[in-house]
């Protein structure tokens, strides 16, 4: 059996007391890495420096600095559905807690997720790195070093341990007597693993089972993972099946000497888990070693890279990182510029619906677009317009004919919408429409997606996503105040699609829309309905809508200078 996650933290601390053993994780790794010239620490220290600078945080010690360099989200764990947090997928609270301790105060974010789809809205698959190796060979440490030195956000670490099969009472009994073979491919639910990894690679939202090593069963709650650009998958039998290997873009085998691995196992099992020497040796001889010889060692043939000595081998790890970086760069592109210049002209798509332009609508636009309008009036008339927009949008829902009896006992031919409605706002400006959604749709459930534009690249980046439960079959009103190039809207729609919401169930609402945004959205997502109150002339080189309304969020919330 591979190292149970709960014991891992302690084992690393114990091992790190020995100067001969460098294979450790958590804080100690950063300490050991710090001695290497020109390695990760310089990059992590500089990126942390900028973080600290921009947020006023006081991350100063070597330990907290390198830990903070790990990409993490700004939210409480468990409250995030799209996680960029690096922790073992089945991890207990200790690892995550340590990371969050130094980052909790961060409310401003510098690293969001860049687009994971192309200008046509089609997905780019995530880059999957598979890491195999014998028990206690240091796979997780290698994985964490790769992630840390890669320095890109939106990386997830998926552990094969999460996919252990739940045991029957008889098997649990055997497990207690060291008679159950945890090192055999049959001990894992490989089918579920393949399905999960495949979905994750496709950018879909997935539920990772949480395996309880004490009861040898799956806990009822699952760990949700969403939004990985790079997936690091590790496990002793990571290469055990072809369909699993086929999902990997790079296969790494960590080849650590068997005596070092046995020494680690003995220390861990005896010192931390209170097992007796005889039992550990028995399990090692009966299951661990045969599994190594029969399944694990032969799987080295499938590896693209073999890393001798595990995490100690910085040359190999740096080579891996260079390769992955190169691969990621080839996949990247300048998204926003491309869509700003693409598809500006041509007839408006059939999916566009503009609120009928009565004099009231025009008058309200006249007020909110006027740069001299005081904020009080800006808010009032924006809200009036939004209410009309939401009412108008609802008329595109599918209605069913129905007959009702009126108080005068007459039968009346009417119609009702019998489905579920969910609102999703694009933070920040889209939130201003939540009031209108609530005024019109009783008890509507509201999700939020935070997308910010990276100031250096101009690319949209996903920072936060929290959607309501029970999305299946629901119709989604996705709201934002304005749409210019459509970059943020495309990202938000992509998030919804990744959560298995069909395109035709999505309506995108905005007060003002520019032609480029409409064309881009319609081209990428031809079934998404675009509902707006007025179509503007163009988007200028600064990505501003002309004539436009200025920065809607700033004017509404009063945050402009």
């Amino acid at each position: 059996m591979d190292i149970p996650h709960l014991a891992r933290k302690q084992s690393s601390q114990l091992l790190s007391t020995s100067p001969n053993l460098l294979s450790v994780d958590g804080q100690k790794m950063s300490a050991s890495a710090a001695q290497l010239p020109g390695s990760a620490v310089s990059s992590s220290a500089s990126s942390t420096g900028s973080l600290a600078h921009s947020t006023g945080s006081s991350a100063s010690s070597a330990v907290s600095a390198s830990v903070a360099a790990l990409p993490v989200t700004c939210e409480e764990e468990g409250d995030v559905s799209c996680t960029s947090k690096v922790s073992r997928s089945a991890s207990g609270s200790s690892d995550a807690g340590a990371q969050h301790a130094s980052t909790k105060r961060r409310t401003i974010f510098t690293h969001g997720r860049p687009p994971w789809y192309n200008v046509d809205g089609q997905l780019k698959e995530a880059f999957v790195i598979g890491i195999a190796g014998g028990s206690a060979s240091g796979k997780t440490t290698v994985a964490q070093m790769i992630i840390k030195e890669l320095g890109v956000p939106w990386v997830v670490l998926l552990s094969m341990d999460s996919f252990y099969k739940a045991l029957t009472p008889a098997e649990i009994e055997r497990a207690h007597q060291c008679e159950y073979n945890f090192d055999h491919p049959n001990a894992f639910d490989v089918d579920l693993l393949v399905t999960t990894l495949k979905k994750l690679k496709e950018g879909k939202n997935v539920d990772i089972p949480v395996y309880d090593f004490n009861t040898h069963s799956r806990l009822p709650n699952t760990h949700t993972m969403y939004g990985a650009n790079v997936i690091v998958f590790e496990g002793i039998l990571a290469f055990c099946r072809k369909d699993l290997r086929d999902l990997m873009d790079m296969k790494v085998f960590v080849d650590t000497d068997s005596d070092i691995r046995l020494a680690r196992r003995l220390k861990r099992d005896i010192l931390e888990r209170g097992r007796d020497l005889a039992g550990v040796i028995k399990q090692y001889n009966k299951f661990v070693k045969p599994a190594m010889d029969e399944f694990i060692a032969p799987s080295m043939n499938h590896a693209d890279v073999v890393v001798p000595r595990g995490s100690d081998n910085h040359v190999a790890i740096n080579l891996i990182i260079d390769h992955v970086r190169m691969q990621l760069n080839e996949r990247g592109f300048l998204f926003r510029e491309k869509i700003a210049t693409a598809r500006k002209d041509g007839p408006m798509p059939d999916t566009l619906h503009v609120l009928p332009r009565g004099s009231q609508v025009r008058a309200m636009h006249t007020i909110i677009r006027n740069r001299d309008t005081p904020r009080d009036e800006f808010i009032f008339y924006s809200q009036r317009l939004m209410r009309l927009l939401v009412e108008y949008a609802l008329s595109f829902l599918p209605f069913q004919e129905t007959i009702v009896t009126t108080p005068s006992n007459a039968l009346f031919q009417g119609q009702r919408f019998n489905g579920t409605l969910i609102g999703v706002s694009i933070v920040r400006a889209g939130v201003t429409m939540e009031g209108s959604l609530r005024d019109v749709c009783k008890d509507i459930r509201l999700g939020k997606i935070l997308i910010q534009t990276d100031e250096e690249t101009g690319e949209p980046q996903l920072h936060y996503c929290k959607l309501p439960k029970r999305l299946a079959g629901a119709h989604i009103l996705l709201v934002d105040a304005t749409i210019a190039t459509g970059a943020a809207a495309m990202m938000a729609i992509r998030v919804l699609l990744d959560h298995d919401i069909p395109e035709e169930n999505i309506m995108f609402l905005s007060l003002i829309a520019a032609p480029s945004g409409i064309h881009n959205l319609a081209y990428a997502f031809p079934k998404v309905k675009i509902i707006t109150t007025e179509v503007d002339r163009e988007v200028n080189e600064q990505f501003h809508i002309i004539p436009g309304i200025g920065n809607f969020g700033d004017r509404y919330f009063g945050t402009s200078t």
Partner: protein, 241 residues
């Protein structure tokens, strides 16, 4: 809940409203709200006799808001250019004439909130018309208007027009106060075709905004299919809970 006193048609008759095309043809000074799917749904809900209490108020308010927005569209406006924060010029409109609402008690008062939500400091007058015991003809009981009502555009609110006799009496009173016919806009949710015929016959220069037009009246002057007594349902005076 309003108990029907007479069934005017066999229960198997399924009513729909008079089509927008027919309405346009018959009453040139009538404006109907665009009949979108959700306007139809709102009507389905408020006409359903099972819709009670807060639900009735919630959905009636939504419909009222849409009718009020549509009626504001009828007001005079003039072209104007403004500058946006990006420095561009936007060709817009602004309203010229001062506005005043008049709610016909009691149902019309249910529509005041809808008006107030759109025009925050609008002046609102009130008028109460009642039928006397001796005759079915409506009589003015009470009226209170802003002093300069003759200079304003006047929107009269009454959610239902049954026979149209009450509405006619209200218009008469407004004319007596010096408001010219073309400046009066009668705003309602559901009107019977009989009421439209009567009102437009007496006041050909008046304009009416409505949401749906029903075809019948019952013996008790109630609209059929209608939505029952709007005031009773909205103010819950028929509620025994």
């Amino acid at each position: 809940m309003h108990q029907p006193t007479a069934v005017v048609a066999p229960a198997s008759t399924i009513y729909s409203t008079i089509s927008q095309a027919e309405c346009r043809q018959r009453w040139s000074r009538l404006t109907l709200c665009e009949e979108t799917n959700q306007v139809k749904e709102l009507h389905t809900i408020i006409r359903d006799r099972r819709t009670a209490g807060n639900d009735f108020i919630f959905y009636a308010d939504r419909l009222i808001r849409l009718v009020v927005e549509e009626s504001l569209n009828q007001l005079e406006c003039s072209e104007t250019n403004i500058t946006t924060p990006t420095g561009s010029v936007y060709a817009g409109v602004s309203f010229t004439k001062k506005l005043c609402g008049v709610s016909v008690m009691r149902g019309g008062e249910a529509m005041e909130k809808g008006l107030r939500d759109c025009c925050r400091s609008v002046r609102i007058g009130k008028i109460l018309i009642q039928r006397t015991e001796s005759s079915s003809e409506p009589v003015l009981s009470y009226a209170k208007f802003p002093p300069d009502i003759a200079e304003r555009q006047v929107m009269v609110f009454d959610p239902q027009l049954g026979t149209g006799k009450t509405a006619c009496k209200v218009i008469e009173v407004l004319l007596e106060h010096g408001v010219p016919q073309p400046r009066i806009l009668l705003v309602t949710l559901i009107a019977s075709q009989q009421s439209l015929d009567l009102v437009f016959k007496q006041f050909p220069e008046l304009r009416i905004v409505a949401s749906q037009i029903d075809s019948d009246l019952d013996d008790n002057h109630g609209i059929v299919p209608g939505c029952g007594d709007f005031g009773d349902r909205y103010f819950r005076t028929d509620d025994d809970q």
